[in-house]
Symmetry: D2
Subunit: 484 residues, 4 copies
């Protein structure tokens, strides 16, 4: 389904697992303004968070620690005007788009965080979720810390500030802070004269480096680099800290890196979160989805006339299914691209339904045909139910649903917003039961064993499918904890 | 290309011919509120106009002529909030989305027009362009009329009001007014107790009738009926006036219809304007585009590895090309769905380009391949040039462009916003020249002769391709005339 | 009381008679931009209307009839930004502030009206109320006119447009239109090359002419001329039409003037509506209020320690009372100047009251003293009741209320918004009853006979006090009539 | 002059010393919602700060530390809507209006501060200016603190949080924090179950206690208590900490109070900042201004016909002058009450001036008379110059200016925003020079010796007049220091 749906939802609550954030940083060694590039970079990452956004910049030649920041609730095109962007003058900067998994949806929680500390000013943007944030927060409070947000990024900021008292450089303080924090995090930190990127040792969330002339970039996804015409340099490795400065270029002090026994990339980045034109750790997201479709064709074959994707995230897997099965690939739906985050949802009494407002079936393409319909996941099942129904209304003879991920069964503690188990349609239900519930003629999921294959053997976290996590989950439920 | 691009443009001025308007009307004989259905109906027509929008409703059981209206510049989700919609109480109503071809882009010119006249109050929504509006307007002024907008819809309103003095019914007044006005128009008129639809004798613009329970609808496109769960009843015929009232249901008095020697549907509705899930006069827009793609494959064949559409409007024709040629259909681009009408365009000095911000190439899908890229039209050519270039950068071995319409060569006087001839890339240039300009390996247009075939013989206007118009064009250029 | 109170009210409905409008026009013969002067001129007239406002300008050297207009609901500082003002380029223009007495409070009804007619474009701003507008409107409709607003100003516009067909100049058309319309009106009309001012034959509403270098102004009140540094030239006489053009300067063709047997200025302009720093027809509003206070002291003397005004409109009369009586004048109230039109009114359940939020008593000034408190009028009496109560709470020994106008007893048909008779406290009640109701120790009104004296013999309308009107009131209630 | 002028200014920079803040807190022991009372209380304090405002509330019966807060740039009627206020549910709360003297004008710096710390959540509102904040801030940073604002209130919050680690109660932590911080501060602190008020030992800024039924209030000024219908209980004493809780009512533990050798109330609170209907430490502000006027009449007598105040802050002193001298008191100016913070200031090229837009002279009252004009202070002198000029233009025979404070000569380090010495007209100039500069016939200031008398012997700070401060001023200029 489309990236935009997390927030407005076809139902009251999101029908797709929510992504948590996108981060983007830039440093122009020639002193040019970076805020336009950060704006367009974030625009390419908007699918990772539509709740709030912000950009903080600083002029490295200006007074040390003078940071300009604009952040607010809303999409980039709601928060930023040409006037506002024009005023954000600076050659180093960091930006953020947010979808809240930890901390409330309030303006105070928007990022980047900008904070003064012993060595000047830091800007910090964070994608991910810590599992020991409540514990660390309590510890900090017991030494006199005060917290002005409910996001765990503030815990990270504190640790960096405290470590900085006894270390020779910001990056060293970051490294020491990383020794304390546990969980998923891709960080971009702007200090008065350095741009720093860091990724957690398990590599849950992506982070990469780009370059355009004498400007360097850090970004959640490579598609953001393409958008601004920058070339991809390399991924930041799990556990790595990268420092970008005019004096030394891109530096990664291996003594600071934090090793992990095995990595645990979030496989859902490949299946749904990331844009298909992104590569994560050398693996094309597009290709990964094509593979998922091919495996579905191998493992859940069915005779049919047409393979279609539920727009837009089902399209790649549908193409893969078609390539493997030889059944023609086509288009069965038209999506209304004007139905955005802020459209007025039909009320309970209304005769209209959100699904119909968003999607319409191409009767001409569907009538009298046997359809294989591919989506990337089923969360509650209500949307699938309606779409299957719409296809039948339009005259489809058969509707076979294929899902390019295994059934969701467990919560995620590393930044993906999965509803409570009780709301997951696959919880305590067989595929046959689900098939009947949504009214399809057949239903096939991607087999869990295929997950390794669709990322060509890269180590992944598959906790939401299996309940086996790379890090022991916290005893307490951590999401939103800081608010009470 | 995508429906949203008319306004924001990849260049300073639109790179696609602009559509002019969408209209939607509703009448609930059971007295229920129609404004939600009008809102969702217009949302399905938003691709026809993103500049301004409005809804006017009336309560047929209330005081005669009490009309509530909200209209303003902007998209539906910018103009309407749940609160505003809630206040628009009424069982009869009419709505409009506008893209200006005649009259300035000002709030005064937003529709529906709401006006008091001798018999009460009318709401009027108009899609199309009159060719004798300036003359009629001058005539009206010479009898003491005053005009408060610069749109030709006000001329229509005046004629209906004046004819009403000597006629027994509104629909008769509409019929007489239609005897005076010339050009393209699909009208929806709300009188205190009737909903009236009318279509010009040549049938330039579409208009259809729908029904859901005891509520009747008039809409520019059938996709709007699908969106609200209404069933399609029939098209309004060219020259027909349809009256909807609880007393008589749907009535079409043939004595009032205005015959035409031959119809002249705008073929560009099929090629680009209308949504593919719409049927116009019995012809599926989707099917028409599939046919266009097939004819391109027949008339301009080329060996290649992959057929792709420029999203989103090129996709159907690309599928048709693939079906005919046997060359696999795929996806080469990812479109950023967050780049809307209000995104900040990169400045002249910026390193970013609008095309890159909107589209990215799926390198994985394209590299090393010979690509056939299908778009629905080329206006100035600058966008095609950049997209071809992006494909090559991504490693495409060859890029063959196919266009699912003939070259644009002439202005349109019937509501399509085509730039001046001097700005059309095809003006005084051969296909070979254009191919070279945009840097493609080959270029093929749909042959003019195929236009009849893609609409299966329905009579069409092809003035913008041939310069031969179904009505003599006005001596003066009529667009924006009223403002000076 | 203060000018701002009409809209926000101390009660749910206004506790002061509402004023209807302010008008301002400018023409710079040297071609400079007039919109800043119109903005500041209107700002000085904002007390006359806070509901909507607008400015229309034209460039007399540019294309004939090209008019730029910005108007919307709200105060000037809400509707106009520097950017908007900057774009309103033109050397001739007209502006308006509105408080609705006829026609709903909707954006469509905001003025100036801008309309195209047979001779180009007119901008029209109107202060006043016609008594034969419904009749004229019906007549116009029976000749095919359409109306897009519910204000009677549109009726005036139509008459000018129609008369213009058979007359040699705009001002002549205005004169002929004035032969048809009846009631109260001060008009400013901007034609492509002329600025025209007109005032009804009875002279209900004020209108004056000003000059600054080579720029000429028309304004509702002289305070607007002071504000922009212009000198007062003269009042427009009742029934006069003044034409301002570079060719002839200020011209008043006596053949066009409409004589009246006797004038009938609205005396409430002197008592409350106009700013005290304004002169109307040679009479200082300040001086008129001082006189009212003096007469109150003569006619309703009482022993006391302090005379105070209810801020701000009672202050001048209080000073007059003090001068005549010798009792010291002082200050008893502090008004909160941040409580504007948009402040949140205390709810029914709230412990706070609107009066307390707006006014506080200076306990120190009041305690132990006998107070004479002067207000300009009593409408419903609820506010007076609360203020008297507040003074007693603050320790006042006695509270004597004096009102600088006679009791309100009749409706106004000429532009003043007086509540229905049933809501007027003086309706069927003696001064003694009212005194008891509001809890004062004594109550004195200005005697009706004094009205002539406070305007030094100028002929006035006193209909709201006596029920005797200078023009026969309409049979039907005309306010808001056009909306049904 | 009027309270509103600090921000918009008659010149580019404020022509009046800026006040710094207003604070208001409430606790309803019966569990009712306090946000409406806080809103109206702050509305009565809006003259103390128009830059930003905020309200934070908590439900003492709800989850401990759950705080709802709304704060933003702008006036109360811009930031708060009925909807927003409705959502702020809680029986304990604190509010703030801000005019920045320390820290930039950014949204981050708006108050109240809401922060989580070791014992839950605190809301903190602060009026005043610390002189050792930079030093304390550096010390905190050297122990790992991070700062997210540039206001010194955050320094106070940190000290409370740290002291709380080793103390048994919040109020004790506040007391210990007060042992560290130096300067001017009136604080209101909301902890999960207590409302705490504290005032610095020298008593620079006011703070008082009120009560209405079972609800208790803390407020900067008594006028805020009047506005919400609460009764005044008593002032918080300099150096006192007051704790309000349902268990113990109002408690003031003398062991926690911080004694001072002598108090040092800001005398400018009496002269200009506070509303005249406020009492500070038992002294009526109104009475204090009356006294100032009387002393001016004694010390700088002159023969004249009329005494007038420059609205609105000069009015009380003018009345005092009149009472003492026997010269009649009157009104010479009309102030435009629609010229607020956001009005568009006339540009350099404009023919209009800000002073004229704001004030007009009552020619009738002034012409041919000898005027004594009283203002509360002269800062740069440009406004006085223009007003004197306007009076002369209006025909005043003589203009004698009297100022109800001594000449400004020194900076203020305790929260008053006085321009740099070089911009003060009295710096290196005699009264005669100034009189000539502003074009008056005579000029008299309040004598410094009279300051004690106008506050009837209460100990005051007169640093801005004499350069002798009650606390040694900081070596570094502290205002805005944290931003670089």
């Amino acid at each position: 389904m489309d990236w935009q749906c997390e927030l407005d939802g076809l139902e009251d609550r999101p029908y797709k697992p929510g992504e948590e954030c996108g981060v983007f940083g830039a440093y122009d060694f020639d002193g040019g303004d970076v805020s336009p590039s950060i704006y367009y970079g974030l625009l390419a990452l908007q699918h990772r968070g539509q709740e709030s956004c912000g950009i903080a910049v600083s002029d490295t030649a200006g007074p040390k620690g003078k940071v300009l920041c604009t952040k607010d609730m809303g999409l980039l095109n709601e928060v930023f005007t040409p006037d506002i962007l024009e005023k954000l003058k600076g050659d180093i900067g960091v930006g953020h788009v947010r979808y809240s998994t930890a901390g409330s949806s309030t303006r105070e929680n928007a990022q980047p965080l900008v904070l003064n500390y012993v060595k000047g000013t830091l800007g910090l943007a964070h994608n991910g979720n810590l599992i020991n944030a409540p514990k660390l927060r309590r510890e900090l409070e017991y030494t006199g810390a005060i917290f002005q947000t409910t996001i765990d990024s503030e815990v990270i900021a504190y640790h960096i500030a405290r470590q900085r008292l006894n270390t020779g450089s910001v990056e060293e303080a970051v490294a020491k802070a990383m020794g304390k924090i546990k969980g998923a995090y891709s960080l971009i930190i702007m200090s008065p004269r350095k741009l720093i990127g860091a990724r957690d040792p398990l590599g849950f969330r992506p982070l990469c480096i780009g370059k355009r002339d004498n400007t360097y970039f850090l970004a959640s996804e490579t598609c953001a680099l393409d958008t601004i015409g920058a070339e991809f340099v390399r991924d930041v490795s799990p556990g790595e800290i990268v420092t970008i400065s005019p004096e030394k270029g891109i530096v990664s002090d291996t003594s600071m890196c934090i090793p992990a026994k095995e990595h645990a990339r979030c496989v859902f980045e490949y299946i749904y979160f990331a844009r298909p034109d992104t590569c994560i750790d050398g693996m094309s997201v597009y290709h990964s989805r094509i593979l998922a479709g091919k495996f579905l064709a191998m493992d859940s074959p069915v005779e049919a006339d047409l393979v279609v994707g539920v727009p837009e995230s089902g399209n790649c897997a549908a193409l893969g299914y078609s390539l493997e099965s030889g059944i023609p690939y086509g288009q069965a739906f038209v999506k209304n691209s004007y139905v955005g985050r802020t459209f007025i949802k039909p009320g309970q009494k209304s005769r209209e339904s959100s699904v119909r407002v968003k999607l319409n079936v191409l009767r001409e393409a569907v009538a009298g045909r046997r359809i294989i319909m591919i989506d990337d996941s089923i969360v509650r099942g209500t949307t699938s139910d309606r779409i299957v129904h719409m296809l039948r209304e339009a005259g489809a003879k058969e509707v076979h649903m294929r899902v390019s991920s295994p059934p969701f069964l467990w919560p995620c503690y590393f930044g993906t917003d999965v509803p409570a188990r009780e709301q997951l349609i696959a919880y305590h239900r067989s595929a046959e039961d689900i098939c009947q519930l949504i009214g399809a003629d057949s239903l096939g999921y991607l087999r869990v064993e295929r997950l390794d294959e669709i990322v060509e053997g890269r180590p992944i976290c598959r906790g939401c499918f299996t309940g086996k996590y790379p890090l022991a989950p916290p005893m307490e439920d951590i999401r939103g904890e800081f608010e009470s």
